[in-house]
Subunit: 199 residues, 2 copies
DNA sequence: GAAAGTATTTGACACGATGTCAAGAACATG
DNA sequence: CATGTTCTTGACATCGTGTCAAATACTTTC
């Protein structure tokens, strides 16, 4: 067979960069093709559709991101872990200039309620998956913290609450473009969950 | 001059209904024109652009929504007020079938980072405005509650935290389509802010 | 009451996006 | 070297936004 003339991974990287900056609907396959130095038709041949291309690019990102989260949630005191977790989260959607926002949150909100609109069920699944996995990791950290007496409460609902706050931060980031505000909210949340400072 | 052949407000109502269900990018002016029984060109004549039409429709919604929020946050014990606030918030984006989600959160996340992409600065302003006003109302309720001894802490950051959670709930709603989960998180948040039950 | 003026309507057009398709090109294998 | 399979390339159909000019309907003025 004829060999592919472009680097599969490189295209995914370039594509996700564009999706991240401009949103899925705001990025055309022509944009990606131009940026990646590939013919538009080749993208259709290799990935099938814009949606499938996005999904492939997103999975790549999600894997990397989840790894980073896992790392920061895996060592240190519970307070340090949660602080690092919020730090990483905020840093993630404040990266780039202008800041690119949170791709997962954005993707979730771009979903169409009606069938056939926007991203479909596969995409929702992928986004929900990442959120679920992150929640599990946070819950794990809380459970370990509870065993060491650093946390007192139900890890399950507390983890859900924390992840909800991170999603809310992604939204406020778009609204106010104020990183200090995000950090203040994050710190406050940690204090609410663990109790005030000297603990 | 020649009189307009359609009801300005009715068109805004119909338009926002569609924007709400399918997202701004997912709704075409042809859709709206068909549904409203108006020519597409007339919409451009009356509103100027899709974006301007959306904005006009959104302002209408925002006004009504803010009024409802103000009402539930204005009477009863602080715990009752916050419970009613979360109730209203969740009910709002669980309305419709399938549920339509939160238009403000969706709009914020659809914003393009780069200029010229997606909704522009005016839209961001409108979304951010609603979020700010809601935060002010929540803060007011907390301040009154503090004066009555129902709340102990800094109303400003607490209000910000609560609103952040509501935005996060809007995101989780899209991810998991699980209303019970949303209510659990809301109840947990209230408990974190006010202290456990019997208070 | 007729003419002029003005805003709305209507349909045609330009442009760009997605997705399909057929024909051409490049490599593997017999 | 022939054959077959995949990738590439350009043309096309369809739909979306936004612009424009001509037709239309009403108000105002003479």
């Amino acid at each position: 067979m004829r060999p592919r003339e472009f680097d599969h991974d490189e295209v995914l990287r370039v594509a996700f960069e564009q999706f991240w900056c401009k949103g899925v609907r705001g990025t055309s396959l022509s944009d990606i093709a131009r940026e990646a130095g590939v013919q538009r038709g080749s993208l259709y041949n290799a990935f099938g559709s814009k949606e499938a291309l996005f999904l492939a690019a997103y999975e790549r990102y999600a894997g990397e991101y989840l790894g980073a989260i896992q790392k920061v949630l895996g060592s240190g005191s519970l307070r340090k872990r949660l602080t690092a977790f919020f730090d990483l989260t905020i840093k993630n959607f404040r990266s780039g200039s202008p800041p690119r926002g949170c791709p997962t949150t954005r993707g979730l909100m771009e979903l169409g309620s009606a069938e056939g609109e926007g991203l479909d069920e596969n995409a929702r699944q992928a986004f929900a998956d990442l959120v679920s996995r992150i929640t599990d990791l946070v819950q794990g950290a809380l459970s370990e913290g509870a065993a060491r007496g650093e946390f007192d409460g139900a890890p399950e609902i507390a983890a859900l609450h924390i992840v909800t706050v991170t999603r809310g931060l992604a939204v406020l980031e778009r609204a106010f473009d104020d990183e200090a505000q995000l950090r203040k909210i994050a710190a406050h949340t940690i204090n609410l969950v663990l109790g005030k400072e000297g603990r």
